[in-house]
Amino acid sequence: MAGPAVGQSRPFVPAPDLPPPASMRGTWGWMRTNLFSSPLSAFLTIGSIAFVAWYLPELIRFLFIDAVWTAPDGALCREPGAGACWAYVSAKLSFFTYGAYPRDQVWRVNLVLGSGALLALWLLWPNLKGKGTAAVLFFVVYPLLAFGLLTGRTPFPLPVPDLASIGTLIGWAMGFGPTRIHGDVWQVIGTMVAIPILLLVGSALVLMRHARLGVPLLLFACWWILGIAWPMTRLTLVGTDLWGGIFVSLLVAAVGIVFSLPCGVLLALGRRSRLPVIRFLSILLIEVVRGVPLITVLFMANTMLPLFVPEAWSPDRLLRPLLGVALFASVYMAEVVRGGLEAVPRGQYEAAQALGLNWRNMMLLVTLPQALTAVIPGIVNSFIALFKDTTLVAVVGIFDFLRAVDVQRLDPAWAGPTISTTGYVFAAAFYFIFCFAMSRYSLMMERRLAAGRKR
């Protein structure tokens, strides 16, 4: 029995904590530590407050108090002392959004934009189920339908063999001469017979658990049906020379996103391939395109590409910059994905090989899922850069949002001293909202991923 006798010692009661000194408490204390901790800090604080106090009221006055909210034309905005001319923005809003797209057809643009937004939300919202379905819809089905809706052309060219020409041939062989009627009749008969057979065989194969054979047959039949059904919608054709505005900016960004992910993954795999030829070609493409400005790639797509293909195949004027942007975005994505692939521990590859997975399954089931989730923030950051870079397509004459704003400020009905600034502030707000939202999303994903790895 060591220690003092139990009954005689008083239990230890710590004295209550003293409050922090008065100079460290409350607003004053906060200001002392955060605003006036040293003479230099105090000087900077006063300077910053003076700066804000000088410019912030000026800014608010220009943007809101003295702003012209409604006006039939630019006369009110031209008066001295007038602020931002929001009336001009609301008058031009439909041009800023759709460019010269026919006004009675803009429901098609709205449909494409709305469904795209819903799909993107489905893909990006972390807790929603069915990401695989969403990915297939967004990366395969949506581009086809969007192409069809926006251009009015069919996105489902009918399958070969062309039954019409076979029909013409048979009719001609039977001595009826080369008339189109036999062809059409044969096409109808062929279609009526072939599609049900394809559907039946396809579903039978799927039911008999031969999905690998059955699903392509079913897809082929669906394609065929859609190819016949699409022209019945009788959408008017809208040439790409009429496209413009926010809708084209989003289109360029979407094309970049849809192409850059798969192409970037392929290029990143190529760069890490064991096969020297494939590795060398991937490195060459990635490094060359990353070493030059986007503008030169756009010029290349615009002026060189039409020379490299036969005259008849010369790509559409909007398609050329889209190809350039897709190429440019892909090589940057490749570097992001490569970072993810290198972050996957070697043991994961070895474990996959020890399980006897072949290369494709190792990549699809083990490596890529880990690599891609690890670099989601990087992917989103490169989407932000891509979205800002879409403004450059104006250099080859595409009427994107910024170019629409930049051209409209010269409209004589509105031109005035505040019009340029108003247009640019509006455009800046638009880009800022998109990019800021994406960067917050990237931060949120970073935190979620970090939380998953915390031990």
Partner: protein, 394 residues
């Protein structure tokens, strides 16, 4: 006993052998590339002949016949060639890139340090700057500076004047024109000698510190040498440079005039890159463990010496690689000058020259090659620097 084991390696069939399959894939890829390239070249030759486009580089020595608003080497529309125009554009690109890199680095470091400041309001203001700049397109910023700010300036007669004879109007920035006096080379020589002397002293001082631990500062020596050598030369020869102040003559100013396009491009590029550099600096400095600062303070270094000798050398190792990327981005982004009419390589060569000659393949290839070379040289230089400051592990 061990008769069941037969360990001789069996070779798989060729179509299952990874080596054969690899070779086959490579041959197929190569064949596809060669086939595509052959068709592309074939089509290009046919198309270019059909459109009367030159397929060689003979345009290089033909007279250009257009004017350029900013030329660092002599250029006249009547006698200069397309090759000369290329040189002018290249120099203009380099000037903008080098100047913007210098300005962006300075602003970026200041903003980056400001974001880490204990001062709440300074940190917040720096944060707002970084977020606004990084989340809007560079092109929008350039157009804003050019069209909404510089082009909206008053005309020459109502120029905004700054102290020191600097004027800003809608035709650009007017600076006093420097004129070299006869004794200039003596003064320049004096400055150079002073720098050389200080450098030699610095080498000696660091060697001395390595052996004895005693510290000698080089800057008093530099100032002393400057006063003696350069000051003496000025005293002996008179002022080396005189400035002629700009004067309003008629509708415009005399004096050295800098185009608004150049001002807008440098301003836009450096403010944009500075926001990214600020983030890099912030990340680099906050990556240096706090214990390093505390250790520096514990051995009695002053606050400035802790920053200069302990924190910044370690932060630089983290900062330099991403900083290199930002420099490369800035150089590539200088091509956006074409949107505001700055006569850089893209605007002159890929714009005007391409339009006049039609030689798209040659011109686009040359331009891309030039940017590639500039990028390679920059990253080489930065890699050398990174190796110099790298942690020496023994």
């Amino acid at each position: 006993m061990a008769e069941g084991y037969k360990l001789s390696p069996t070779r798989p069939a060729p179509w299952n052998d990874p080596r054969w399959r690899g070779a086959l894939w490579q041959i197929l890829t190569l064949a596809l590339i060669v086939w595509l390239a052959w068709h592309a070249v074939d089509n290009a030759i046919v198309n270019m002949r059909a459109r009367n486009i030159p397929t060689d580089f003979s345009f290089w020595n033909q007279p250009a016949g257009f004017d350029i608003s900013q030329t660092l080497v002599s250029f006249s529309s009547a006698s200069s060639t397309y090759g000369r125009a290329f040189l002018v554009g290249l120099l203009n690109t380099l000037v903008v890139a080098v100047l913007s890199i210098a300005v962006a680095t300075i602003i970026g470091f200041i903003i980056g340090i400001a974001r880490l400041s204990d001062n709440w309001i300074v940190a917040r203001l720096a944060g707002v700057y970084v977020e606004v700049i990084r989340n809007t397109p560079l092109l929008l910023q350039l157009l804003f500076w050019y069209n909404a700010v510089l082009k909206a300036m008053p005309g020459p007669r109502e120029s905004i004047s700054f102290p020191g004879g600097i004027f800003l109007n809608n035709r650009g920035l007017v600076l006093p024109e420097p004129q070299l006096a006869p004794g200039f080379e003596w003064v320049a020589g004096g400055v150079l000698l002073a720098l050389l002397g200080a450098l030699i002293f610095k080498v000696w001082a660091s060697r001395k510190q390595g052996t004895t631990g005693a510290r000698y500062h080089a800057w008093p020596v530099l100032i002393g040498l400057l006063i003696v050598l350069a000051g003496g030369a000025v005293f002996w020869q008179g002022t080396p440079v005189t400035f002629t102040l700009p004067e309003l003559r008629g509708f415009n100013f005399t004096g050295a005039r800098i185009n608004p396009e150049f001002v807008a491009l440098v301003l836009g590029l450096s403010l944009y890159a500075a926001a990214f550099i600020a983030e890099i600096v912030r990340a680099g400095v906050s990556a240096v463990p706090r214990g390093q600062t505390e250790a520096g303070e514990a051995i009695g270094l002053s606050r400035g010496d802790v920053l200069r000798l302990v924190v910044i050398p370690q932060a630089l190792r983290i900062i330099v690689p991403p900083l290199t990327n930002q420099y490369l981005n800035l150089i590539k982004n200088s091509s956006l000058g074409v949107f505001i009419g700055y006569p850089d390589l893209v605007q002159i060569f890929m714009g005007t020259v391409l339009n006049q000659t039609g030689a798209a393949v040659q011109i686009v290839s040359i331009t891309m090659a030039v940017y590639l070379v500039i990028s390679l040289v920059t990253s080489l230089a930065m890699n050398l620097y990174a190796r110099r400051i790298a942690l020496k592990e023994r």
